[in-house]
């Protein structure tokens, strides 16, 4: 079967050049999509299911790492092998250290032909030897470690109360009462046992201000107060469904966070 690849790079010249260089060192590789932003990368990858994804780290929309996280969370369970990921960056010291530590493939811009050839050889070996379930598990483990190492530095002041504005009134919601936070576009839904509020900030901005021992991220868009989880049930696809104190709906923890809900 011909291997397929997706390229996500927002700078047109660099994208075209990577495509050209790949054609030289790996002629059989077929580029099925070349996109310039994170949201398209995610959508195209889920639709076309390429064997490889080359993801620039800094892209408009979603970053390369966010695309990888979303892919790992939303990848279907039908046995399609999870794509091998190659991150591309011009200069992100911490990311590069994390990639090296987790043996994740990465390329530095400007991309040197020798380095690209090595990377291709390695990818070819991995493609020929891997099996789908293993690939998924390996990707999940690597990404979990990467996301963990990118965790915000300690010392950010922690919130005790959420101030949610409605018209000219500001509602004060003690953190103790929040069952979960859910990302909704540019907003975050703040859900308590009997109420819901919207705050005008992204989950990415909110997360560092929450105490991570009390509030667990369970999905790229969901953070739950651990104290208020009553049970966790794992289904055959690896997703974990949570029931909550005071709320009737269930929340789903993604593959990346399922390990949080193991029995002691």
């Amino acid at each position: 079967m011909t291997p397929t690849a997706l390229i996500a790079e927002d700078e047109p010249l660099l994208s075209a050049s990577l495509q050209a260089e790949l054609a030289k060192c790996w002629p059989e590789l077929r580029i099925v999509a070349s996109v310039g932003d994170g949201a398209q990368a995610l959508q195209q990858a889920l639709q076309l299911k390429p064997a490889l994804c080359f993801l620039d780290i800094r892209m408009p929309g979603l970053s390369g790492l966010e695309v990888a996280q979303a892919l790992a969370e939303d990848w279907p369970d039908d046995g399609t092998p999870f794509p091998l990921l190659v991150f591309i960056t011009a200069y992100d010291q911490y990311a590069v250290q994390a990639f090296a530590a987790q043996a994740v493939d990465y390329l530095l811009k400007p991309v040197e032909p020798d380095r690209l050839a090595q990377c291709c050889a390695r990818l070819q070996r991995q493609l020929s030897s891997r099996e789908a379930p293993q690939a998924m598990q390996q990707a999940v483990d690597q990404l979990r470690a990467l996301l963990g190492s990118a965790a915000p530095a300690a010392g950010t002041p922690k919130l005790e109360v959420i101030q949610a504005g409605v018209g000219s009134t500001v509602h004060f919601v003690p953190l103790d009462e929040v069952v979960y936070f859910e990302a909704a576009d540019k907003y975050v839904r703040v859900v308590t046992a009997d109420k819901e509020h919207l705050i005008r900030m992204s989950l990415r901005e909110l997360l560092p201000q929450l105490d991570s021992t009390r509030f667990w991220q369970i999905h790229r868009g969901t953070v739950v107060q651990a104290r208020l989880v009553t049970s966790a049930t794992r289904d055959e696809s690896g997703k974990t469904h949570l029931t909550l104190r005071g709320r009737s709906e269930k929340l789903t923890a993604s593959r990346l966070y399922a390990h949080l809900f193991k029995p002691m």
Partner: protein
């Protein structure tokens, strides 16, 4: 006089005390030469007891009365302090001397008005000299410290300006594009390289020269935007507008650079469809308005939140404050139609900064 650390450590006090004792001994030697050496030991005890007592009162007064971070209280307090110290020191010191010789200094002097007057004049004179000496030495030390701190701040500011402008991410991405262009379109690669060279040269020298013309400022901004538009392709469009009559006006070098960089990096780069940057100079009466307008994410939505944005804005604010004081105005606003508008208003009557 403002000092960065306390001048009242035990070491300082001890050193001052020893200097005073040395000074007293010197005065004692001089008075022996003038008055004969008959009671040299008694003279020495009185001399040291009075001198050290005056010093001790002044030193204690300085510690109590000086505002935090200062070595001396204000003149209005320092003069009465010295006067009181002379009186108290003289009385206490005389008592100590009396104990040593078993006589009364006061009785002795009050019988000889001439010697009393000269003793009083001598004590006041010696105290004034010693006080003046310590005061001016402390002041010189504070001035030296202030100068060193100012030099340190200036160097740090220059370094961080350089670091913010030679941002490695920008540099390596530009080089990556350049590498591609060399094979693809050599003349365009050459043009891009020229822009990069001009940008780097301006960045490296901007921290050293005080001003350049507005025309030069716009050329450097154009270099940067040209580099960015090679990278971003059709996602970035730019307009620069500089009326001819304003071309020769002097401005601080690369004053607008952080604003343009913010507009591109935090306004347009994160936006999927990209957008537009408009830079303009306009004259309004006797002030010059420089504006950077982008159609990006908008101040507060990513734009304006990162530490590097904050740094850029602070840098602009600090430079304006240092060069023009309150006569320059800097504002940055989110536009209702989306995007950000940064404006700097400079007085035109000020000669080159």
């Amino acid at each position: 006089m403002q000092l960065s650390h306390s001048t009242f450590t035990p070491q300082h006090v001890l050193r001052h005390g020893l200097q005073i004792a040395l000074f007293n001994t010197l005065l004692w030697g001089l008075s022996l030469l003038a008055n004969g050496t008959e009671h040299w030991d008694v003279e020495l005890v009185y001399n040291q007891a009075i001198g050290l007592s005056i010093w001790a009162v002044i030193e204690a007064g300085r510690i109590v009365l000086s505002p935090p971070g200062h070595a001396w209280p204000a003149w209005s307090r320092a003069l009465p302090l010295v006067a009181a110290a002379i009186v108290i020191g003289w009385i206490v010191g005389s008592q100590i001397g009396d104990l040593y010789c078993g006589c009364s200094n006061w009785t002795f002097l009050s019988q000889q008005p001439r010697r009393l007057r000269s003793a009083i004049a001598f004590t006041i004179g010696a105290s004034a000299v010693a006080t003046y000496y310590f005061h001016s030495r402390g002041k010189a030390m504070a001035d030296r410290e202030k100068l060193a701190a100012a030099e340190r701040d200036a160097t740090l500011a220059r370094l961080s300006l350089l670091q913010s402008q030679l941002e490695p991410h920008m540099l390596f991405n530009t080089l990556a594009n350049l590498r591609v262009l060399i094979a693809l379109d050599p003349p365009r690669a050459q043009a891009m390289l020229d822009r990069l060279i001009a940008f780097l040269r301006a960045t490296l020298t901007a921290s050293r020269s005080a001003s350049h013309s507005l025309a030069a400022e716009f050329e450097r901004l154009d270099d940067y935007l040209e580099l960015m538009s090679v990278r971003m392709g059709p996602r970035l469009s730019t307009q620069l507008s500089l009326p001819d009559e304003l071309r020769d006006l002097p401005v601080p070098p690369l004053l607008l650079q952080p604003l343009v960089e913010n507009a591109v990096k935090h306004g347009l780069e994160p936006k999927v469809e990209g957008g537009n940057v408009e830079i303009a100079a306009e004259r309004h009466g006797d002030s010059l308005e420089l504006s950077v307008r982008d159609s990006g994410m908008g101040f507060g939505n990513g734009h304006g939140n990162g530490p590097s944005t904050q740094f850029g804005l602070r840098q602009v604010r600090e430079r304006l404050q240092a060069l023009y004081g309150d006569r320059a105005v800097f504002s940055i606003d989110a536009l209702p139609e989306g995007g950000t508008l940064a404006r700097i208003t400079l007085p035109l009557d000020t000669p080159a900064p």
